[in-house]
């Protein structure tokens, strides 16, 4: 997982280049521009600044938006804009970054449906996992990378949300933890309360698990046991002591776990969820794999669930609507 940062100079360099390439199209130069959303809006300004003044006067702009929630495309002032879109030799559809490609592909389909003769597409940044490739693009980044540009500051990674004061020590389990007076957590779940620090240390040493603990005032408040496979991360166990719940330690451990999964280029995170909480995990976009249900008795029944880390969308649906 790499964070790329493009400063103003770099962005302007790419903007000058795409401006020149559009000029090379001659009579096919797109005179109608459709910046996509807020990021397309920002980028279009930099490209416009790189054009000769005379060219700028010829360009008409029709901002377009894609609503991810509703999966709908909005073309600004659509009825009045259709004639321009149809008459232009080409329409220029641009956005700053493409992740899955769903937004740009949906908008492109809409512009074609409105009668655009040709749609020329551009994005400053494109992720390798995209299902849609624009005609021109600046930087191709990895599936798990993030790219920042035209920002006054670069957001750091964090373990706690902004409203929570960070506390505790997040670290790997170590041999000395086996010597603790308190041998395990009190989670209220019988099978988990049987797992000792020695068990976790053994799993780490013998079976290749990673175990991270959150230590608070000398006590272990929570832990997560994970296993990285080639394409997935299994959150094998997560437990928090009843006395230490509600302080954000669980969020910190799970956030760190996901960061590790992304850094290892995992495509998905898997876990076993207690049966009566499966709907809540579903809401957080975990999906039952249907592979297995583990019943341990004592009302402990677990479902295997999985959440994709990468951007995906139904290509069939978008191309055949």
């Amino acid at each position: 997982m790499i964070t790329h940062f493009l400063g103003t100079e770099e962005v302007d360099g790419y903007a000058r280049d795409i401006a020149e390439r559009l000029e090379l199209l001659g009579s096919d130069f797109p005179l109608v521009w459709c910046p996509l959303g807020k990021s397309g809006d920002k980028l279009s300004r930099r490209i416009a600044a790189a054009l000769p003044l005379q060219r700028r006067k010829q360009i008409q702009v029709v901002p377009v938006f894609y609503n991810k929630k509703e999966k709908t495309v909005t073309v600004t002032d659509q009825d009045a804009s259709v004639a321009s879109i149809r008459s232009a030799a080409a329409v220029f559809l641009l956005d700053s970054s493409i992740h899955s490609g769903a937004s740009m592909l949906a908008v492109m389909n809409e512009l074609r449906a409105l009668g655009a003769q040709r749609v020329v597409t551009y994005s400053l940044v494109v992720k390798q996992s995209t299902h849609f490739v624009p005609h021109f693009f600046g930087v191709l980044v990895g599936e798990h990378d993030r790219t920042l540009f035209l920002l006054p500051s670069i957001p750091n990674n964090r373990l706690f949300k902004p409203s929570v004061a960070p506390s505790g020590v997040l670290r790997s389990i170590c041999a000395n933890d086996c010597l603790r007076q308190s041998r395990a957590l009190d989670t209220g779940v019988a099978s988990l309360d049987k797992i000792t620090w020695g068990d976790l240390w053994y799993e780490k040493q013998a079976h290749g698990y990673e175990v991270y603990v959150m230590e608070v005032d000398g006590e272990i408040a929570a832990y997560v046991k994970i296993k990285l496979n080639s394409k997935t991360m299994l959150i094998d166990t997560f437990a928090a002591d009843k006395q230490h719940q509600g302080h954000g330690y669980g969020a910190a451990l799970l956030r760190w776990s996901e960061s590790l999964a992304r850094a290892a280029n995992c495509a998905a995170i898997e876990l076993w969820a207690i049966a009566n909480k499966v709907p809540m995990y579903r809401h957080l976009r975990f999906v039952e794999t249907g592979r297995e249900v583990m019943d341990l008795g004592d009302n402990e029944r677990y479902h295997h669930m999985r959440r994709e880390l990468l951007y995906t969308f139904d290509l069939e649906q978008l191309t055949h609507e």
């Binding site: 809006d41 929630k69 321009s84 020695g198 068990d199 954000g248 809401h283």
Partner: protein, 90 residues
């Protein structure tokens, strides 16, 4: 009518104010720009779960609120794949 490029560049502050096309976090209301705040869809609308149950509510959260919810859930109802351990309690 489409606007001219000059008009478009002048009108930017109004469009920025309207946070055009940006979805907001369903919990804290922050604009969901993927690389800055994170964009985490929630709900089951697009989930392809094996049991084929009906779809539910759909929204999106920023990364902070997503992990807040996931962490709280996991603290109250631990994630487990309990396996046989070295020490048997008899």
């Amino acid at each position: 009518m489409p606007i001219s490029l000059a008009q478009y560049l002048e009108e930017a502050p109004e469009r920025d104010q309207a946070a055009i096309g940006l979805e907001l976090c369903e919990d804290c209301g922050v604009p969901l720009q993927e690389t800055i705040a994170g964009y985490r869809p929630t709900g089951e609308q697009h989930a392809k779960h094996a049991v084929g149950e009906p779809v539910g509510a759909h929204g999106a959260k920023c990364s902070d609120c997503y992990f807040d919810r996931l962490g709280t859930l996991a603290e109250e109802y631990p994630i487990g794949r309990p396996t046989a351990v070295r020490r048997r309690l008899v």
